[in-house]
Amino acid sequence: MGNLQSYFLSFHDAIKLEIDDNKVLREKREELLDVLKENIDFEEGKYDIFHQGSYTMHTGVKPFEDGDYDIDVGLLFNISTVDYPNPVTTKKLVYNALKDDYENTEMKYPCVTVKFEGEDDEDDRNYHVDFTIYSNENIDGQTYLAKGKLGSGSDNRTWEHSDPKELVRTIKENLTDSEDRKQFRRVIRYLKRWKDLKFKSVVNRPSGIGLTVAGLTHFYPHFSYNAFTKIYDDLDALESFVQNMINSFSCRINDDGEWEDRLEVNLPTPPYNDIYEKMTGSQMKNFKLKLESLRDSLKEARDEADPVKACEILQKVFGQDFPVPTKKESAQQRGPAIMVDNSSA
C-alpha cells in the first residue's frame, strides 16, 4: 500500500463541519433562541437549552450538494408529563413563539423545524433548525421527548422516554484515548459522506446517527507503533468497521412471515429502540449490498501500490472532496541519473 493516510486527512478537512468554525450557523442558532426567549408564552416555568446533534458530537459533515445545514437544539422544559399530559401543548409553546417571525416554521412529529434560505453569496445552501422539546421535571427523574403534530389525536402523540444528554455524552466520550477518539470521529464522517453520496434521494436511507451509534460497537481504532508514536491507519479502521457491520446482519422473520437480512443498531439510551427499524427488507438488502461494495473498493485501494490510482478508486467511493494527487505530487524528488553503456544478450 502506498501511504493513503495523508489523503484521508485532507478529505476529512474538506468535509468536517464544526459549529464553532461556522459563524452563519452559530448566528442562526443564537438568533432563533433569542426570538424564542422573547416570544414564548410560558410565564410559569423555564427551559434549559441543550445542544445536540452531530456538531455537538464532533461527527458533523458539510451538507452534500444541495443538502441543508441542519442544527439540532434540545429544549428541556421544567415540566412534568403529569401536569402537561398532551405533548403537543408544549410543542405549541415553541411553535407559536417562532411562527410569526419565521414563515417556514413547521411542527413535525419529533420536533419543531424552522427553515431558512441561505443568504451567503458563496454558499447559497439552506438551513434548518430542529427544536426537540422535552419534559424534564418528572417524579421518576426521567426525561421525555414530545412527539406529535398540530391536531394529532391522543393515539398519534406521545411523551417518549428519552435521555438525549446521555446519548450525546456516550458518543462524545466513546474511547478513552483522545487520538483514538479523533480517528473514530474521522471514520464516522467518511461513512456519513459516503452515505450522502450513495443513497442520494433514497427513501429511508441509513441515518447518520445510525452509523454513529453502530460505531460504538463496531469501530475499533487501527494504528501501528513507530517507537512510541501511534501511526493511524484510517483506511484499515474504516474497512474493519464496515466488515463488522456486514458481519452483524442477521436473518429474521418479518410481520409478513418473510425472511429479512437486517442490521440492528440499538440506541444505547432510552428508548433503546433499533434506529433502523423503519427500513424495509429491501432497503436493508440495498444497504448491505452498498456496504459490501464499499468494503471491496477499500480493499482494492489498499492493494493498489500507486497512490494516484488508489485515490481515484476512493474518489469514486467518497466523491470529489476526496483528493487525487498528480503523479508528480505522489512522488519523491531525486537527483539526475548518469547511465552507463551496457548490452544484453
Binding site: M1, G2, N3, S6, D303, A305, D306, P307, K327, K328, E329, S330, A331, Q332, Q333, R334, G335, P336, A337, I338, M339, V340, D341, N342, S343, S344, A345
Partner: protein, 158 residues
C-alpha cells in the same frame, strides 16, 4: 502487475508499460531483441516504487536476434528530458530487454552487464531493476548498488 520488494514495499509496473512490453515480444523467429530503460516514481511516505514508462528501441540502437545494445546518448537524453519535465519525480530505475523464450532467465552476459550497471551508474537510488520480457511471461530482478547482489523478484498475489 506488482512485485514484492520487502515486507512493506512493492514494485508496480503500470498497465501502460505492460502494453508496451507486449508489443516488443519476440514472437516471430526473425524478431530481433528490443530494450531500453525503466523510469518511474519513488512514492512519497513509502518504500513503494512505480514503473510508469520506458524508453523504447531507437534507430541508433544495435538489434540482433540475441543481442541488444542501446545507443547510450540517445537514451540518456530521453531520460534527462523526462526527469527535468517531471521536476525530478520521474527517475531512472533500470534496464529492460526481450528474450525469444517463454519464461526468461538472464544469460551469463546479462548478469555480468547488470553488475556493471550496478557498479557504475550514478543516481540517488540504492536499488535498480532489470526486466526480461519473454514471449509468455515477464521476469524481474532487483540489484543492490551497495553490495552488487542481484535477486529475482516474486509476483505479489493479493
Amino acid at each position: 502487475m506488482i512485485f514484492i520488494l520487502g515486507p512493506t514495499s512493492k514494485l508496480k509496473i503500470n498497465d501502460e508499460v505492460i502494453e508496451r512490453f507486449r508489443v516488443y515480444r519476440q514472437l516471430e523467429s526473425t524478431a530481433t531483441e528490443a530494450g531500453g530503460v525503466l523510469m518511474g516514481r519513488f512514492i512519497e511516505d513509502s518504500d513503494d516504487i512505480i514503473i510508469d514508462l520506458i524508453t523504447e528501441p531507437t534507430e541508433k540502437d544495435i538489434r540482433k536476434r540475441c543481442f541488444f545494445k542501446k545507443h547510450l546518448e540517445t537514451h540518456q537524453d530521453l531520460v534527462d528530458e523526462i526527469w527535468e519535465e517531471s521536476d525530478g519525480t520521474f527517475n531512472y530505475l533500470g534496464e529492460w530487454h526481450t528474450h525469444p523464450e517463454k519464461h526468461p532467465s538472464p544469460s551469463f552476459h546479462d548478469r555480468r552487464e547488470w553488475k556493471k550497471v550496478l557498479r557504475k551508474t550514478q543516481c540517488e537510488s540504492s536499488l535498480l531493476f532489470f526486466f526480461i520480457i519473454g514471449t509468455e511471461s515477464i521476469g524481474a530482478w532487483v540489484g543492490n548498488r551497495r553490495n552488487v547482489k542481484i535477486n529475482k523478484l516474486e509476483v505479489w498475489n493479493k
